[in-house]
């Protein structure tokens, strides 16, 4: 196995790229995809630490599976909200979502 720091760096880089995507993109669908990227980066961390403790420990991998389930739930609800919003306002751009402002 590689040293665990390599995996941490990869995970960190993916996390930062995802965070940049969340705060800079206007398209809400791409923002949701960036959130998926962040969750994926966390999964790399979990699996790397799970491997660090040897082949017989798979607790970190089980956590990663839970995070995948969470990501699926989040994507389903988020895309449902996006479709509902698009039906009302004909846009998916974050800076045009001002229904609560008056």
């Amino acid at each position: 196995m590689m040293p665990v720091g390599h995996y941490l760096f990869l995970s960190f880089a993916l996390f930062i790229i995802g965070a940049i995507g969340v705060v800079t993109r206007r398209n809400v669908i791409v923002v949701l995809m960036s959130i998926e990227l962040i969750l994926n980066a966390v999964n790399i961390n979990l699996v790397a630490f799970s491997r660090m403790f040897g082949d017989v420990h798979v607790h970190g991998q089980v956590f990663a599976l839970f995070i995948i389930a969470d990501a699926a739930a989040e994507a389903a609800v988020g895309l449902g909200i996006i479709i509902a919003f698009f039906r009302n306002r004909e846009t998916v751009l974050a800076d045009e979502m001002d229904l609560l402002k008056w």
Binding site: M2, H6, I29, V58, I68, A72, I83
Partner: protein, 171 residues
């Protein structure tokens, strides 16, 4: 040595396509690059000997979640005109890929015909070489983490109902 080559390859692909995903203007390009990132992450999982997560990542993320994303991207209006989405040589690239795939499939059929019928499947690796990942995974998941597993299933049910309610047309 091989381990590190595999790691650096998949890590490079993951980071590069993640950066491309954030910077592309077109949402469908972002989706495709995110799929590439997720597949590279699946490769990292395999390199970490998490075979079950490797398969789960490909089937759940790439096969499930990203298909959902692509459907929603196609449902909502794209701001860019069509000739920005399709590129110029798309027809020729499509033709090349189709011919390559056809060659591959025919070579595969030819190769399978050459084999004796008993030798189609390679013998599985000896069972004592690697720890059985899926078995351990199942033992931990349905033993130590049974309650979180049930809670996760309830979460998925709630999310499913929520998504249906959200996307439903108001009558």
């Amino acid at each position: 040595m091989l381990d590190s080559i595999i790691f650096y390859f998949f890590a490079g692909v993951a980071i590069l396509s993640a950066a491309l995903m954030v910077t592309r203007r077109n949402a469908i390009h972002s989706a495709v690059f995110l799929i590439t990132t997720l597949l590279a992450t699946a490769g990292i999982f395999l390199q970490l000997r998490a075979e079950f997560l490797f398969i789960a990542q490909i089937i759940l993320y790439v096969g499930g979640i990203m298909v959902l994303f692509v459907f929603v991207i196609m449902l909502v209006r794209l701001d860019v005109p069509l000739h920005h989405i399709t590129f110029r040589f798309q027809k020729w690239v499509a033709l090349f890929v189709a011919v390559a795939l056809a060659c591959e499939v025919s070579v595969m059929f030819w190769y399978v015909r050459q084999l004796p019928s008993a030798g189609l499947l390679t013998p599985p690796a000896p069972a004592d070489k690697l720890p059985p990942n899926s078995e351990q995974f199942a033992k931990v998941l349905f033993g130590d983490y049974l309650l979180p597993f049930e809670i996760a299933s309830i979460l998925l049910l709630v999310a499913m109902i929520g998504a249906v309610v959200m996307a439903k047309k108001r009558t």
